[in-house]
């Protein structure tokens, strides 16, 4: 044990001496979470509309004003041709075009159902659909309001209640997601470098001739980074609660436990990568190129996993961030207990064990292999 503590002390000195890296390690997650928490928003707002109004009468102008006053739209340009709408799309200035027919007002008041055409730039299909349905809703409500007699018939109406996130805040999804992303990548990148670095600088030889066992080396490498990662996790959680009003409905002990667990997963992954990589460059390339996009795309952070084709849904199970996000949203937002989150916790433990064993087996206390 004495050797182990001596080794941990050496690692800590290494880390603390490099002030720049230290600053990056702590400053970066904070800056990122602040930027994303404030900036990321999947709501569609403020979209430009190109209007081609063939009639220009009182009713059509009224409708335009209604659109202009909505939160979702502003009128970017008034067109006289369809080509003009297309040009606005090509320059990405407008997302939606609305074409009002001739005699719009008189047709409307005569009950002749004037045909309104809504065209959208569907190169972004999601946005195009959302905007079209917004515009349709605005137009229909407006038209309904122009009627003189309002019909009253018994109908069924729905009251949607948004459970867990009544204000539909995007932050509730982004904070756990960015947390998983940052912890996993920082953890994996930090540790994947250390062993590769000792190899590259030649100091690995010194460690190998010392009376340290290979588990001493691995655990000694992991311990300081584990503490750092955990500290990072706590900073991010506090920011989420203090700055972004995330709730903390579940048990704090479980939250701390799962942050410790996930940090360990990330470190085990890093050690595993570095035991395979022959240089720092390879280690970094794998931990950065190989982890960034899959973690964003397959963890359910942005795209819902149940929408993916089945093979990808299966692949998503080996993405550690997926399980961590489930645990965090469960604990913080839903206030779940162990009876609900035991499964993701168990999976994370399993992934960590597999990676850990593979890493210990792969770090060989020999050179030239």
């Amino acid at each position: 044990m004495k050797q182990y503590f001596a080794f941990v002390k050496k690692e800590f000195r290494h880390i603390l001496r490099d002030k720049r890296t230290l600053l990056i390690l702590f400053g970066m997650p904070v800056a990122q979470i602040l930027i994303f928490g404030f900036a990321l928003n999947n709501e569609v707002e403020n979209a430009g509309v190109a209007i081609y109004d063939m009639s220009g009468d009182y009713e059509s102008v009224l409708l335009q004003t209604r659109l202009e006053n909505s939160e979702q739209f502003y009128i970017e340009r008034e067109c006289q041709t369809t080509e003009c709408i297309e040009e606005a799309f090509r320059q990405s200035k407008a997302r939606l075009g609305i074409i009002l027919p001739q005699n719009f007002g008189s047709d409307l008041l005569n009950g002749a159902k004037p045909a309104i055409k809504i065209v959208s730039d569907a190169s972004d299909p999601n946005q195009a659909q959302v905007l079209t349905s917004y515009a349709t809703a605005i137009i229909l409500t407006h038209v309904k309001g122009r009627a003189t007699v309002v019909q009253d018939v018994p109908i069924v109406s729905a009251i949607p209640r948004m459970i867990f996130n009544p204000e539909l805040k995007a932050v509730y999804m982004f904070v756990p997601g960015v947390m998983g992303l940052i912890l996993l990548l920082v953890g994996a990148m930090m540790t994947s470098l250390t062993i590769a670095r000792e190899k590259e600088l030649g100091t690995m030889e010194l460690l190998l001739v010392s009376p340290l066992y290979s588990w001493h080396i691995i655990f000694g490498k992991v311990t300081p980074y584990w503490l750092l990662s955990f500290f990072n996790a706590m900073v991010i959680v506090s920011l989420g609660i203090l700055v972004f009003d995330m709730p903390m409905n579940g048990s704090v002990v479980l939250l701390i436990g799962s942050c410790l667990l996930f940090s360990l997963t990330a470190l085990a992954l890093g050690i595993f990568i570095s035991s395979k990589a022959n240089s720092q460059m390879t280690a970094m390339f794998v931990s950065m190129m190989g982890l960034l996009l899959p973690t964003i795309l397959l963890s359910g952070f942005i795209f819902p996993i149940e929408n993916m084709p089945l093979p990808l849904q299966i692949v998503s199970n080996i993405i550690p961030a997926k399980w961590f996000i489930m645990i965090i949203t469960g604990l913080m937002i839903k206030g779940s207990g162990m009876n609900v989150i035991w499964k993701p916790v168990a999976v994370l433990v399993l992934i960590t064990l597999v990676l850990g064993v593979a890493a210990v087996k792969n770090v060989k206390p020999r050179l030239g292999e």
Binding site: D18, R20, I24, Q32, I35, N41, A47, R90, Q91, S92, L108, N110, K113, A115, I116, K117, V119, S120, D121, A122, S123, P125, N126, A128, T132, S133, L140, K144, R146, Q151, V153, I155, V156, S157, A158, I159, P160, R161, M162, I163, F164, M173, M189, L193, S279, M281, T282, M288, M289, L292, L293, P294, L298, I302, F303, P304, M326, T329, K334, S336
Partner: protein, 372 residues
């Protein structure tokens, strides 16, 4: 300039000798492009729905079957009280609970409006919004069915409009068409930024930079020699990506390929310039990597690849003016999907040229041949 071809050749040799890196360089982006393009889909095709039906009449059953036959909803269970159903919601076994009150049928028959309750798991705000929209459509259709049999009072003209919607450029609303160009842009960016940002620092850490410093190579030749190989790799990976986009996802470039490549050429210079600049101001490979990663993640998530850029706050829009990835993702989508011409993207072009010049000059200035 006579030394230039030699440096380029040296760099290429170095890259091609690394047996681990070489396949990674090309395989990793391509494999990710293929796999991840299938993952990126916002369209909510199926909402799992649990039912708490307290009415249990023909009318309430008709409402439920209106939901299940709409194609959006799958019934995953039926409960006698809300509490049980809520536990399922918490475990994510269901996305929504439809609660039908006890007197649905009786109230409708006595001409009373009725309110049914939808409980939605809103942790993912977007999904909840879409599910709630679908439900409204179903309920509207249910109402319309009932109203069909009722007649309007005399002398009332119903005001209505006929709304037709058209989806341009992607009439099938295929999400992959939208995501593939964006993902390709990110992969090319990550690859080139990574390679360039640790290149010089690596030579310094390994001590080989000293050998280059004592040669008569000028700073300009040195930086250019470092950039050209990665520039070529970037162009190659992009070309592979475009071929795959065509073969696998049937995406062709609507605009001119020349415009696309012209922009890519400038863009790669800017990205490589940033990478080299980072490489010259850091002390270790580790630092270089972390700084690159920091900017990459911020630029990537703000680029509009995943979330619309129209709705971010003003200060973030300001940051975005300096975000090269945002311009590239936009240009890729504009040229590939909408057929935007050179004139349409001239602003992007101008800004990117400015970036390229700025970063290359900065990199050259900050690189010093003297050590210590």
């Amino acid at each position: 300039m006579r030394a230039l071809p030699h440096i380029v050749r040296k760099e290429f040799r170095q890259i091609s000798r690394n047996r681990v890196m070489l396949p990674l360089l090309f395989l990793m982006p391509i494999v990710q492009l293929i796999i991840l393009s299938y993952a990126a889909d916002f369209e909510v095709k199926n909402v799992n729905m649990a039912i708490v039906d307290l009415d249990k009449t023909v009318t309430s059953q008709r409402l439920v079957s209106k939901f299940t036959s709409s194609g959006y909803f799958t019934q995953v269970g039926s409960f006698t009280n809300v509490k049980e159903a809520m536990l399922e919601l918490e475990k994510e076994n269901t996305d929504m609970i439809l609660c039908i009150p006890k007197d649905l049928d009786a109230d409708l028959n006595s001409l009373q409006p009725v309110k049914v309750q939808l409980l939605l798991n809103a942790v993912n705000n977007q999904k909840a919004g879409i599910a709630s929209n679908y439900s409204m459509q179903v309920i509207n259709a249910f109402n319309a069915d009932r109203l069909k049999n009722m007649s309007l009072p005399q002398g009332v003209t119903p005001l209505s409009v006929d709304i037709r919607s058209e989806y341009w450029y992607n009439s099938e609303l295929n999400y992959k068409t939208f995501m593939v160009p964006g993902i390709l842009a990110i992969l090319v960016t990550m690859l080139t930024a990574f390679l360039s940002s640790i290149n010089i620092i690596r030579e310094r850490e390994m001590g080989t930079i000293e050998q280059l410093n004592v040669t008569p190579i000028t700073k300009f030749e040195f930086i250019l020699g470092k950039i050209i190989p990665f520039w070529i790799i970037g162009m190659l990976v992009m070309t592979f990506g475009l071929v795959i986009a065509y073969l696998l996802f049937d995406i062709t470039t609507a605009g001119s390929l020349l415009t696309l490549y012209a922009f890519l050429a400038i863009y790669l210079i800017a990205v490589l310039g940033i990478g080299i600049l980072i490489s010259t101001v850091t002390e270790t490979q580790q630092q270089a990597m972390f700084i690159t990663w920091f900017f990459l993640v911020i630029f990537l998530l703000l680029s509009g690849l995943f979330t619309p850029v129209d709705s971010i706050p003003e200060w973030a829009k300001f940051i975005n003016h300096f975000n090269p990835i945002k311009y590239f993702v936009e240009v890729m989508r504009m040229v590939m999907l909408k057929g935007s011409t050179f004139a349409d993207i001239s602003y992007h072009f101008l800004v990117m040229t400015g970036f390229a010049i700025f970063y290359i000059v900065s990199a050259m200035r900050s690189y010093s041949k003297t050590s210590g």
